[in-house]
Amino acid sequence: MRGRDRRPIILVLSFVVLLVGGRLLPDWGLFLATVALAKGLVVLGLLLLMRAGLVSFGQGLYYGLGAYAVGILGQQNRGADGLLMLLLAVLVASGVAAVLGLLLAGYRGIFFAMLSLAFSMVLYGALVKSSALGSTDGFNIVLRSVAGLSPERYGRYLFFVLSLTVGLGATLGVHRFIHSGIGRLAAAVRDNELRVEYLGASVRAVVYLNILIAAALAGLGGGLTSLVVGHVDPDMVYWTSSGEFVFVAILSGTGSVMAPFLGSLVFEVLRSFAYQYSPNTWQLVVGVAMLVVIALLPAGLWSIFAVRRRVG
């Protein structure tokens, strides 16, 4: 790092630009941007894991936990404040990750991906059969207010500002974490675990911490998505949902903490336009776009993995 770190300033500036720009967006655009911001949080968490050389095919677990936590809190109290709901989402997701992380921290590569997948599918299997939570249909979110403001009165813009603020906070936090002592160790763990141990640092602690933060971000993203969409269902936990996050993470690349939001926005826009213009073949369009990105844009996107291959 040469010179002063300007990224926080850039982040705050883009926050202001987006805050004003959001006012000019049509309703559907605002909705897309809000969902992209919410899902970008999950991808931001994956970015942290990828820095440590880990890929999780089960982030849907924490995403879904966050969403259902929000939903259940809303139902229990006939509506609650959005901020309180999000807080609960983060607590539930990171609480579960605190336990599962003890196990997951010992896994690497494909086995890490598969064990996370197994955990997320356990939750899926449970949700699908629980009629109290609407089984496969899920249920609607009851929301009373967001930070005391009424959603009916401020409409979509309120959710946009909420997502933007949460996104800014999370990004600044992650940025700080990445540049802290233990945050920097993630890249070292990816390169060579044994030498990290020689340095006197605990590989396990580094991995555990990254799992925990990634889960908290996924829970936050899930909670936010459910607030914006107004509905939760078990598909949020299904493996295709987790796979989508991994894809967006790869699409974004790991170069910057802002990349996940850009990647997420590109993906949401691509998907909704594909869905708009060819409803029966939107997956085809998205799939082809993915292949093109993977095949033609290797350098910028996979630089993180290139390092590993050389060492192996």
């Binding site: 064990l115 197994a118 059969k129 796979g243 991994v246 993915m290």
Partner: protein, 298 residues
């Protein structure tokens, strides 16, 4: 006692189905180190091809017994067309990249194939149940089981045995093992690694299609049938240890029995139980039940 027998029989039937379905996945992973997420779509392609071709065969008034040949033919066609097309057209461009990149390429392929299937066959379900009843059925413990299930068990044992034999006992098989062990060294010794990859992936795709074709008489062939199959196959091969045939057999048996027990005694935990089993095995044996030692990186 009768209930226990029913549980075991159902478990064995489900296991043999799982084994056929998962075999191609573990083969492709073992040789090429690609976790093929499009495996379920190839399975779905096989099921659709079998159901539509078989339906036509019967509609044309041909002998019903011929429908078994049609099933197999449909699966072979899917495997021999889709396999090389995917390997040559897409995967070949990505060899040498990180494992996760290849996983994502097959994920993209999965999305593409889901829609391709809808474009070709539409969204209405296909029914092709004649072959299921054609073999008659046997009565065991007061319940009647179609003999088609016995055929399924037979096919899975024969396929598994054949693959294990050709890997361990034939010249080509031994070359394949060498390539699994060290790709670069094998290439340096003059083995045609590219061709082996092509053959392996085609074989894997064909096995997936056979799994789908054999299943088509027992279910309604409708959009989305591949999506669940691929995670089940993941569970099977991960429990067994990726890339191991014996592991896949044991994994299939475990998942099959767990599910069968769940269905009979506690139906509400059916799906749940399979993934709990997968998680528990991974917790106890982080690399699956049958896994070799890996060199440590320093």
């Amino acid at each position: 006692m009768a209930e226990v027998l029913a549980v075991i029989i159902d478990g064995v039937i489900y296991s043999s189905w799982l084994f056929i379905t998962a075999l191609g996945l573990t083969l492709v992973y073992g040789v090429m180190k690609i976790l093929n997420m499009a495996h379920g779509s190839l399975y779905a392609l096989g099921a659709y091809a079998a159901a539509s071709l078989g339906g036509r065969w019967l509609a044309a008034g041909h002998a019903p017994w011929g429908s078994y040949a049609v099933l197999l033919l449909a699966a072979l066609t899917v495997g021999l067309v889709a396999g090389p097309a995917i390997e040559r057209g897409i995967l070949r461009l990505m060899y040498g990249r990180e494992e996760i990149v290849l996983v994502l390429a097959t994920y993209a392929l999965f999305l593409i194939l889901e829609d391709v299937i809808k474009l070709i066959w539409g969204v209405d379900p296909y029914f092709f149940s004649e072959p299921y009843g054609l073999l008659g059925s046997v009565e065991l413990g007061g319940l009647s089981y179609p003999l088609y299930n016995v055929a399924l068990l037979f096919v899975s044992v024969v396929t598994g045995g054949l693959l294990a034999w050709s890997l361990g006992r034939t010249r080509r098989g031994k070359m394949l093992l060498a390539i699994i062990h060290d790709r670069e060294m094998s290439a340096a010794l003059g083995m045609n690694v590219r061709r082996v990859y092509l053959i392996t992936f085609t074989l894997g795709a064909t096995l997936a299609a056979i799994g789908g074709a054999l299943t088509s008489p027992t279910v309604a062939v409708a959009p989305g049938i591949g999506v669940e199959v691929v995670v089940l196959a993941f569970a099977v091969v991960v429990i067994g240890g990726l890339g191991s045939f014996a592991g896949a057999a044991l994994g299939a048996l475990i998942v099959g029995m767990v599910r069968s027990c769940a269905v009979h005694y506690l139906p509400q935990v059916e799906l749940f139980s399979i993934y709990v089993a997968m998680a528990l095995v991974l917790i106890a044996r982080p690399k699956g039940l049958f896994s070799g030692l890996e060199p440590r990186r320093i």
